[in-house]
Amino acid sequence: MHTFTRAETVEYPEQQPYLAPRYRGRIVLTQDPDGDERCVACNLCAAACPPDCIALQQGTRDDGRWYPEFFRINFSRCIMCGLCEEACPTNAIQLIPDFEMCEYDRQNMVYEKEHLMIDGPGKYHDYNFYRVAGMQIEGKDKGEALNENPPVDTKSLLP
C-alpha cells in the first residue's frame, strides 16, 4: 500500500521541512508591544513543567515591575510539551518552530535568560499584561489600567 503514497521524508538538512508557526520547538522569552520584558516571574511555567526543567527567581524592578532575576531552562530535560506556554499568563514564554539545538555537550543545553530573550512579541502581538493588571507601575498609575475607575476617595461617603 505504502508504495503508492507520497514519501514524507525530505532530504534534511538540504531540504527544510515546513514547520507551522505553532510548532513546538525551542523556547523563547518575548517582549510586550512596548518592547519591555514580558515575563513577570510568576513561576507558573515552572510549576506546569513536567520534567521540572525551568528555574527562575523573581525580583522587583525600580519601576515596580516584577521580573525574573534569572531564568533558566535545561533543554536537555525539556520534552517540548508546551505546557509552560499554556500556563503563562503574560504570553512571555513561547515555543517556536526551531528544533535545531543539538549539542555535543549536555551542559550547553542549559539556557539562561540572555539565551532565551528575543526582541519582539513572538506569536502574540498585542497582549501587554501590565495594561490589564491592577498593579501600579511607573507610567501606569492606579486607575489607568484597562477597565479601571480612578482611585476611590476614601474620605468621601457619597454613593
Partner: protein, 923 residues
Amino acid sequence: MPTIYIDDEAYQVPEGDNVLQACLSAGIDLPYFCWHPEMGSVGACRQCALVQYRDAEDTRGRIVMGCMTPVADGARFSMSGGSAGEFRENVIESLMLNHPHDCPVCGEGGECHLQDMTVMVGHRNRRYRGKKNTHRNQDLGPLINHEMNRCITCYRCTRFYNDYAGGKDLSAQASHDHTYFGRQEDGTLESEFAGNLVEVCPTGVFTDKPLVNEYTRKWDMQSAPSVCVGCALGCNTLPGERYGKLKRIHNRFNDEVNGYFLCDRGRYGGSFVNDEQRALFPGLRQSNSTYNAIESIKAIQTLVDWCVPGNKLAAIGSPRTSLESNYLLQRLVGEENFSNGIAVHEAALIEQISGILQNGSVATPSMRKTESADVVLVLGEDVTNTAPRLALALRQSVRNLAKEMASDMKIPLWQDEAVRVLAQDQLSPMYIVAMSDTPLDDIAAQTLTLCPNDIARMGLAIAAQIDSSVPGTEGMLEGFDTETQKLITQISDSLKGAKSPLVVSGTGSQNAAVIEAASLIASALQTNGADGNDSMLSYCLPEANSLGVTLMRNEAQISLDDICQRAAEGNIETLIVAENDLYRRAAKEQIDTLLSKVKNLVVLDAIGTPTLSQSALALPAATFAETEGTLVSSEGRAQRHYPAFLPAEQRDSTWHWITQLGQALALPGFDELDHFDQITAACAAEFPALQQICEASPLADFRNKGLKIPRQTHRYSGRTAMRADISVHEPKQPQDDDTPLSFSMEGSNGSQPGALLPFVWSPGWNSNQSLHKFQSEAGGALAGGTAGVRVLDPANTGSTSKKTNLPVESKAKKDQWQLLPLYRIFGSEELSAHSPAIQELTKKPFIQLTPEDATKLKLSAGDGLTVNIANQDCVLEVQVNTTIPRGCAGYSVGLPGACWLPPATSVNLGKAEIRANSRGDDV
C-alpha cells in the same frame, strides 16, 4: 453530641459549634472567608451559605450562613440543595467584580484562599463588563506590603488587628464598595503582631514585604518544622527556603503554644540566616589579624592539636543554641571546664526561676492556658518586649469577663460581635507593675511604675495581703503611701476572688526579689485564693534555650566569672566558645582581658560577633534553619527544630563540629554518637531534669504510612534546572539520616505527629486555611498530637529557691540615677537584630529620663548623651518618659551599639557628656 443532617447524611458534631465549623470538621468543603477559628464568626462575607430545612418534609428550605448558625440536634442542611451552590458562586462573582487581574504578580498567588474558594464554587467566567474600582496603596513599613485593590472586605484584618491584637492604627474606611482597609496615613503599622495580617488576610492585600521583594511561591519552598529562637516562648514556626535562602517564616500551629499567631520578631527576625557576612569556611587567624579560609578537615586537625590532653581546656556554651550542642561541648571538655555562657547575675535569676518551677507548688501554664486567666498581675516585666507572643495571649485573657457574660446569656463564644457588644469595653482585670510604661497598659485596670526593689516590695505586700503568713513580709504594706496601699489591697482582693489568677514575671527587671515575690503571690493564692482556684505562675526568660541549659546545669559546671578567673591565672590555653557573643554577657573590659589571656580561642558561630572576630580559629556554624536541635521554652516544653535546608559549603551544625572533634580526639563514647537521636538520648540520660526530651518528637526511624515526610510540596518546581548552571548532571537528593523528614517531595504529609508537620496543603486548599485538614476538628489540636513535651511539672517539694534577701526600699540618691533595663521587641534580641527588616525598625540605644530630670540636666529628647557604664563610654539618645520612676533612668538593653549593663547600675548623669541637639546622629 448533637446529630445534624447534611444532604440527608447524619453527622455527630461537637455541641456548641457553628455549622461551618462542624462541616469543616466533618470533611465537608464549605467555602468561607471571614470565619476564623480563633476569632469566631461575624457573618460578613456571606460565603458559607447553605440551605436549612425545617424538617424532613420541608423541601424548600431557606438559605442560612453556616458560620452564624448553631448546630442543633436534628437540624437539616443541604450544601447543594435549592440555590445554595448558586448563591455561593454569585457571592464570589460579586467579590470578583472589582478584583484586579493580578494573580501572576500577587504575593498571595498559589496560597490564596480567594483563589481556592473561587475554584471551589466553580466560578470561571467574568460576565461583568463594567469598570473596576481601584485604590491607592499605603507604605505600611518594612514588614508588610499593601495592595488594596485585592480586598474582598471580609474584615478579617481589622478584626485581628484591632479586636484581637489591640492595634489602634488600622481601620476600615469609606463605605459601600469603596471600603478601604489601611491607616490614616502612610507609616509603619504599630502593632508588634502586624505580621499576622499576612496569614489572616485571605487575599493578597497584606503580604510579607521581604518575601515579595525576592519572591518564591509556597509550592516552591522547602520547609521543615522549626521553633522560633527570638525569645524563650518557643513558638512553632515554618521556615521556607529556596536557592539556599530563608525566604520567610510562617506560623506552625501548636494549640498549646502559639496557636495561629507569631510576633513580628519571630516572623521577620529569621533572615539573619541569609546574612552575606556569614562565613562559608573555617577561618584561621593570621598574624596580621586577617583570616585564611581552610578546609574543615584542616580545622579539625588544628583543633586536635589545640585540645590534646595536657592542654588546659575550657568551653563556653550558649542559651541560644540547642541542648545537644551544649551537652556535647560539656562532654568534650568535662563539666568542670564548662560554663553555659549565661551572664553571672542572669544565670542566678534563671536558676532561681527553674528552682521555683521544678520544686514549687504552682504550675506554669502553657501559653494557651494563660488566655484562660481571669485576673492577671504582671510584676516587673514588659511582656510585649521580652516575650512578645505572651502579650498577645494576655490580651485574650482580659476578654474572659466578656466570655463569662456571654456564657451566662447562652451566647455561643464564636458569636464574636455579640460577645463584644455585650461586654462593651468591660475587661477582666489586669494589673501591671513595671519599670516604665508598657504596650499592654491600654488593657490594664491599673498600672504603676516603680524601680525593681520597690516592685519586689509591692509584690511581697500583695502576697502578705493574700496570706498574712507569708514569711518576711510583716510591715511591707506600711512602707507605701496610702494610694499605693489602696492599689495593693485592690490587686490582692481581685486576685483572691479569681478562679484562674495568673502572675507573670521574669528576668526583665534583673531582680531576684521580684522573681521571689511573684512566686510567693502565686503560692499564697493557691492556699488562700478563691476555692478551687487554678493559680498560675509564668516567667519570661531571655533566650530560646535559657531554661534548657539551666536544667542541664550541675554542681561541677563553672560560671563565666570562673572562666575569667582561670584564664587570668594562666590556666586556659584553649577556649571553645559555641554560639555565644561574650560581650553580651559581661563588661567589655572583663571579656577583653579574658580573651587576651587565652592562647587559642575557638569560636563557633552562625553570625559575626565581636567575640568571633577575636578568635584564632573561627568555625562557621549552622543556624536554627539549617540544623536540628532541642530547645526548652520558658514553659518547660522541650521542642525539636529541624533543618529546612542544609548549610552551604563547610558550614556545619555546632553539634556536628563537636562530634567530629570528639571522634578525632578519640574521646570515650564519641564514636557511638553517629546520629542526632543518640546525642539527644545521651543528654537525656545524663540530666534527670531532661529525661523526657527524647519524647519531644519522633525518632529518625519514624515513618508515616511507611514513608518519610517530605520537606517539599508535591509541586516543587525546577528540580532539573536549579543547579543546571553549575552542572547539568543532577545530584542525588541529599539523604537525611538524622530525621524522619526527606529533602524531596517524596513521602507522606498527613496524620504524622504534630512535631513533624513541614507545611500544610490539601487538595483544593492551597492556602494556610488547609490547616483544618490537619486538625482533629476545625480549630482543634493537630490530629497527630501537639508538638513538644513538657519536662517541668511542679514537684511541690516545698523547698523553692534559696530565700532571697528582702529588698530594701529604694531612695533616690543625689546625682545618682539607677539604670532600669528596658527591652525592645526589635533590636534587644541578638539574632533577630541581624535581620534587615528588623534593623529598619530598631532604635538607637537610648536613655529615658523623667521630664523633671531632663529639665534639671538641661537635656531634651533627641540629645546625645555619653554615659559611662562599666568603664565603657556609651552614646545614648535621650528620650523623655513621664512614667520612669523617680531617681531612675531607663536604659535600652541589648540594642546594637548599647553597652552591656551590669545589674543594679547607677550612674551620675550630671557628669555625663552632653551632645546637645545632635539628635543622636553621631552615635
